[in-house]
Symmetry: C2
Subunit: 563 residues, 2 copies
Amino acid sequence: MSTIRFALAQLNPIVGDITGNSLAILDAVARAHESGARIIATPEMSLTGYPVDDLASSLDFIRQSEAGVVALAARLATDGYGDAVVVVGYLSAAEQPEFGGARAHNSLAVLHGGQVIASYAKRHLPNYSVFDEERVFVPGSGTLVLNLGGVETGFLICEDLWRPDGPVAELSAQRLDAVVVINASPFDTAKDETRFPLLTTRAAEFACPIVYVNAVGGQDDLVFDGDSAVVDSTGTVLLRATRFVSALELIDITGTGASTDGIALSEPRDDVTPFIGIDLPDLEAIWEALVLGVRDYVTKNGFPSVVVGLSGGIDSAVCAVIAADAIGADRVYGVSMPSRYSSDGSKDDAHELATTIGCHYSIEPIGDLVTPFESQLGLTGIAAENIQARARGMILMSLSNQNGHLVLTTGNKSEVAVGYSTMYGDTVGGFAPIKDVFKTVVWELARWRNSVSRARGETPPIPENSITKAPSAELRPDQTDQDSLPPYEVLDAILEKLVSRRDSIDAVVTDGFDRATVERIAALIAGSEWKRRQGAIGPRISRMAFGRERRLPITVRRTTGLT
Amino acid sequence: MSTIRFALAQLNPIVGDITGNSLAILDAVARAHESGARIIATPEMSLTGYPVDDLASSLDFIRQSEAGVVALAARLATDGYGDAVVVVGYLSAAEQPEFGGARAHNSLAVLHGGQVIASYAKRHLPNYSVFDEERVFVPGSGTLVLNLGGVETGFLICEDLWRPDGPVAELSAQRLDAVVVINASPFDTAKDETRFPLLTTRAAEFACPIVYVNAVGGQDDLVFDGDSAVVDSTGTVLLRATRFVSALELIDITGTGASTDGIALSEPRDDVTPFIGIDLPDLEAIWEALVLGVRDYVTKNGFPSVVVGLSGGIDSAVCAVIAADAIGADRVYGVSMPSRYSSDGSKDDAHELATTIGCHYSIEPIGDLVTPFESQLGLTGIAAENIQARARGMILMSLSNQNGHLVLTTGNKSEVAVGYSTMYGDTVGGFAPIKDVFKTVVWELARWRNSVSRARGETPPIPENSITKAPSAELRPDQTDQDSLPPYEVLDAILEKLVSRRDSIDAVVTDGFDRATVERIAALIAGSEWKRRQGAIGPRISRMAFGRERRLPITVRRTTGLT
């Protein structure tokens, strides 16, 4: 019997940044080692970041990854941590198959004594939802089990754990003291409901604790929520890291003893009480995901600040508050761009929001910018409406060009779904914080966020009026969204079925919705695919986000065949 | 011994249009039958169009496809073609795997006597390059061989033919008289170099002719070039359809005789001489691909017309001529949008082009539109340059809103690669005809297209001055592209290596290019990924088109690890 301290390093790598990611791993190892840990596990692809997409086919990048892991092993020893075992995720060279571009494995390396002492390549490659791993990786073979200081330890990478066949079955057939699983498993609102039951099931199959280490952070449209955990064979959660932040958590695991070919590791001299974080309510988890997504897009891409058009409406208000929570209000620039159709209330709401959150605020009326277009081109109707939105887009992009701001796009998922937007107008920008959030949930988030401020004794950031008034694009007199769309409760319910669940029109009608409305919404969704293709990316929070998760043709004509 | 007439129906389906595609198949069958054909083969997914992407996961669509093939079989018999064998590509239901969203096969159905008498599901699913078939389809199993009027016939679907294992090996082990392969194989400039050698190799392995039927037409970013063919076991091309057009070609194939369970088919009463089309030179093939891509995007999406900003430069000139060749000059609207920096020569060149091709032409100066932005926002430098491009984008979109035009985006691949464009300015539009054509090839295409007109005794459409003058964005006085970029011969050579071949920076330097230049180009490519994500789609002609073929993260920081 021997007890070894494990550390779960819930890290936030940047794709491609092998140097920076190595330094983050070194830092975590130093802190963990100081606390007595001798087995330190980092997430899937912790050296390279994840997902790397077609970068996995770059010979340069593969070579740099392989050299990077060797250099990291050496540095760990030089820095005095050669007596520890460090588990790192990286990209390793594979034999190129005859067909397909993939030429790398999604691998883990076990570093000890200045060397890479073992490696394992992911065997089950997800190729659905947001994942293209059959495209970019070559699957591995075999299993990896090491005796680490008397703890017989198996290793898996992410998807390997989800499927019962292959590596799970093979490890289950062995007597193990722990299974380390490294992951880059993105957040969605339903993830918790599947992740912990899975850990419970598998820990029972392995008859030992699972050390589940997940990445954290935003990477383009994906948000990794961390939620690293240790679950034992009875289903008890022994450790759970705080979600949405980098973390380093410790736990002692007792093994049945050293084998003859095992790796000697020193036992801890003191006790440690593993941290067990609480679960987050759905709205809080979504908010944290959006904040992290925005923060990491801004900081990893080196933007000094963001600019957001403040219409007085709920969407722009929520985006501005997310940005302020993410990077601080002093890096947020709000711009009110009123037209002749903007109500005084809207202008007041925009100003109140900016004042409450303390962001920069300016007013750029669009009247003098729009009139020359209208008169020169003789614009009327939809063209005249759109020119207003496009003038606003030009203002935001001009401010971005002059000051280096990232432009935040404020469209929500309901609008994105039906194409309720002006291309190159309100769609401009590099990142769209709420593009995966239905309008009804935007309202819920606003109320929830205000309640958080109230509970803290602060002024709620989002003006009550922005929450309660009828939504309007304010592109013509007395316009409201419901002139063109069903009430958002109805629209969102239909979208949930048509988009998220891929239900048929007939099925939605059977659920009690008006056929003409459902058919019109389905046609709007199909007809706005070209807009979505040109839209900014934004953080995914659902199981059917527009973008890489839902790939549909632009050119499509749906007919049902001969009768 | 019996001889049966085969028809290769090189059709152009529309994705989703089961009714229209059925009618196109019926029409081809009627004409083929009239000409004595009794085995009529149509392309892969001829009933549903290809690629369907995630539509393959729609239960509705799968059901409609399955019902559609049954209805088509019945109608064929009703219309008097029940005595023929018709091979149709369609989507068929599969058992849904535990992991992954795929729930359909990419199948072929053999229709005869009013029934679906046999089917086969594609076994090798390409999941590289532009293909995501492991994502959207479930692979089939087994092989299909039928005795059709005494011709022992095997069946394959596209990728099945490319791989030596599985169905190719299994069919090779049998005595066959013909192998029918149905395809939706997209064009690229190197396709011919691999397609015909493959047919030769496989026909020798099968020891019988291959009847290779490919789709034709544009579908979003893909162009199917047809090039349907029959190649015998000696490698002789017995039949070759004209590329880039719908076609119906006939050939008689002799079988060793009917089997007891074979299908009786009548032999032809006359002889037929199979058509053997000639190969196209590269520039002509590219031009045809671009024209077909534009024509089908416009017509399949129901646009009445296109609008293109005519700068007097080579890119917009080539785009306008492609459009005129595609849909007729009377459906092309050219707009000159001069600024204070536009040279008289540029304005003259734009006017000359429009006059020569006979398209609509108007002039919308941008000066009065830009000045209010400059003065209100105090724009200077790059922001002032960009506002000009954005005013032009707003004009084009306004004209689109008012008249229903599709806006063509005129950027070439060299610009797209390095981000030499103004977002929401010259990047606006729904379809980008030359986005996969490097600038040096744009020049070659212009010269080639002019020579075609000259050979016909017509005025060359592209003004000589547009071809010979130094390229310029004309956003400031005396600006040329080469203020910011290396000469296009150098830039394109570097891009060919870095992008198309995925060479490392070191490898490109070894090939003789300046390191600082190569590093700067590589940085520009990586830094403009966000622009490409928001760019219009356009026809793919290369083996590494931006878009679905090259998937890279926006957020990426390349460092090479600890030293």
